[in-house]
């Protein structure tokens, strides 16, 4: 990679040069990405415009907005937005800015605002985005506001949900959500949403955390089965030690999958390029009874084919959604989103979710298992964060130029393998090893196709 190409990539006309940052030669079994994609601020700026402003971005789960007026404030491609439950019962997403002089409207990250009041000049909006009060209107505009003064909140161009998971997009021309997710991803989400006839709920209790690393390291890490035996060997050893302290006779739900993490149980694993940039990593559970959903297996077998229930109950799954969310159903269940702050900083947020109506015992076990792994205060995620930060720092050495994703080509095949067929699912490719690196090509091909397309047309 020459300096010329990198500087060309720094301009918005540099689409062709960006193409040269991904070296994709399938017939030769070579897939490489140039290290500058992690560290070049110009590429980061383009990612905001061409990926985050064009994709469907995960907002929240519907259960997080229980009653009309409940809102959750976040951002898409650095633009402030908030999702709110409307009085009509749906979820709307608006730009978080007053129609008057543009001040941010929400007062917190989460809150309750059946009437949304701008603190700057006192304009008020209902949950449909309609301005219902202009402070001292008659004094300033004796004849009323000019007819062409748009006083409504601006909805984010597209909002849609799939099985309770709410997404929004800044691009009015974005493809429908289900096409963006693709059939294989929808099937993976179904495996979560079908766990209770009453659906899923996100539990109270969250925290944000930051890592000093590019956002794509979290995309890779979620789908990277290879790091588990190295980075989480400590987690496995720690919970094994804890089990020893507990002695025998403990409840099955107190057990863990430590042995599987250490890759000693010989369970079947796999990884899929689900298409559209989404990735799945899975592993058969060595110890299904340790899982909170196990209590429902018989009931689920009444409602769904045995192969589907096997995927739900007996197969741990880490799904990484393009570009920036993750749905876990391993020792516990979690949703993670990560927002790019700048080229070397990423904000992450994680929630625990659960099937509605599970037993108290299963719920508490799920929470304990979540705390074991998924927070920056757990026995595992801190190690991930430091590993990803180390990856970012190391990749700042651009002398070697390229990262080659080479592991597992021998076990990769086009389309569905037998476990995927059991679910009626068509991944782009299947790998019979969970610790392969072949799935990353699906992510980076999607990344490249968006990075080399134009930017969304501005709405008038």
């Amino acid at each position: 990679m020459t300096a010329d190409v990198l500087s060309a990539a720094s301009t918005s006309a540099g689409a062709a040069s960006i193409g040269s940052l991904i070296d994709d030669r399938p017939t030769e079994g070579i897939f490489r990405v140039h290290r500058s994609i992690y560290t070049d601020p110009a590429i980061f700026d383009l990612e905001l415009k061409r990926i985050f402003a064009r994709a469907w971005i995960f907002m929240c789960h519907e259960s997080q907005l229980k009653k009309p007026g409940d809102y959750l404030a976040t951002d898409i491609a650095h633009q402030p937005v908030f999702a709110i439950r409307t009085t009509k019962g749906g979820v709307s997403v608006y730009f978080d800015t007053c129609a008057h002089r543009g001040a941010r409207l929400t007062t917190g990250r989460t809150g309750y605002a059946p009437t949304i009041t701008c603190r700057y000049h006192g304009w008020c909006y209902n949950t449909d985005g309609k301005c219902i009060k202009v402070q001292f209107e008659k004094l300033g505009w004796p004849d009323g506001l000019p007819k062409d003064f748009d006083t409504s909140l601006r909805p984010v161009p597209r909002v849609a949900s799939y099985r309770g998971f709410v997404f929004a997009s800044l691009d009015p021309g974005v493809e429908p959500l289900e096409a963006f997710l693709g059939d294989a991803t929808c099937k993976i989400i179904d495996l979560l949403a079908d766990q209770s006839p009453s659906g899923l709920e996100v539990l109270d209790g969250s925290i944000r955390y930051r890592m000093r690393a590019n956002w794509k390291f979290q995309c890779e890490n979620g789908a990277d089965g290879y790091h588990v035996a190295a980075v989480h060997r400590n987690y496995a050893a720690t919970v094994t030690y804890r089990e020893q302290l507990a002695g025998t006779g403990r409840d099955p739900l107190e057990n863990t999958e430590a042995g599987r993490i250490l890759n000693r149980t010989g369970t079947r694993t796999g990884s899929y390029d689900l298409g559209r940039g989404h990735m799945l990593n899975w592993s058969d559970r060595a110890n299904p009874a340790a899982q909170p959903l196990y209590e429902r297996e018989q009931e689920l077998l009444q409602r769904f084919p045995a192969d589907h229930v096997r995927w739900m109950v007996r197969r741990g799954r880490v799904f990484t959604g393009f570009p920036n969310f993750l749905l876990n159903d391993v020792a516990s269940t979690s949703i993670r989103v990560w927002r790019p702050v700048c080229v070397n900083e990423t904000e992450l947020e994680t929630w625990c979710f659960a099937p509605v109506g599970e037993s108290d015992k299963a719920r508490t076990a799920r929470i304990r298992k979540f705390e074991d792994f998924f927070f920056p205060s757990s026995l595992a995620v801190p190690d991930d964060v430091f590993a990803m930060e180390g990856a970012h720092q190391g990749n700042s050495a651009t002398d070697r130029g390229w990262i080659r994703f080479a592991r597992g080509y021998a076990t990769s095949r086009e389309g569905a393998d037998e476990p995927a067929q059991g679910l009626g699912m068509q991944p782009a490719s299947s790998n019979g090893q969970g610790d392969s690196e072949t799935v990353f090509s699906g992510f980076y091909r999607r990344w490249l196709s968006l990075m080399t397309s134009g930017e969304p047309r501005a709405r008038t």
Partner: protein, 173 residues
Amino acid sequence: MTDRVTTMRPADDGLVSRIASLLHLEATLLDDRRWHDWLELYTEDCIFWAPAWASDETWTTDPQRQVSLIWADRRNLAARIFRVEGGDSYASMPLPLTVHLVTGIAVTSSAEDVVEVRANWLVHSFLRTSGAILRAGRYEYRLRQIGAELSILRKKILIHDDAITGAIDFYNI
């Protein structure tokens, strides 16, 4: 805030000074990485609890139905010590240098065998690779008193920060 002090009252001077000694000793043992001595300050049936955020101004209150940052009994604390001593945790090698500042110690209720205490904390953690991190919050202790001996039955740690950099563990909150 849901946990306002409503029952703060002057306590026996001897008790307050014994409590202050205990809290300062705990801070010192953590900063000196004398984890096993630190654990001895806790009862066998102890709970070490750091709630998560439930909303912008409230923390979770029900550890059985809501998620906490840390909900650890003594066995879990021993496991966390095992984890940082193992030399195998990416986030714990090297460990940061920590300084715990504990202040504003006040008795909020006292019975013959159980004393409840609140205090403010500020921890400065320093790693040569990533620099200094400051975090602060409030402690709420439930102490067991047997004769003149105090031990920690429950420690609740409210962490004010909602944008965490680095790891959170028993040694740096």
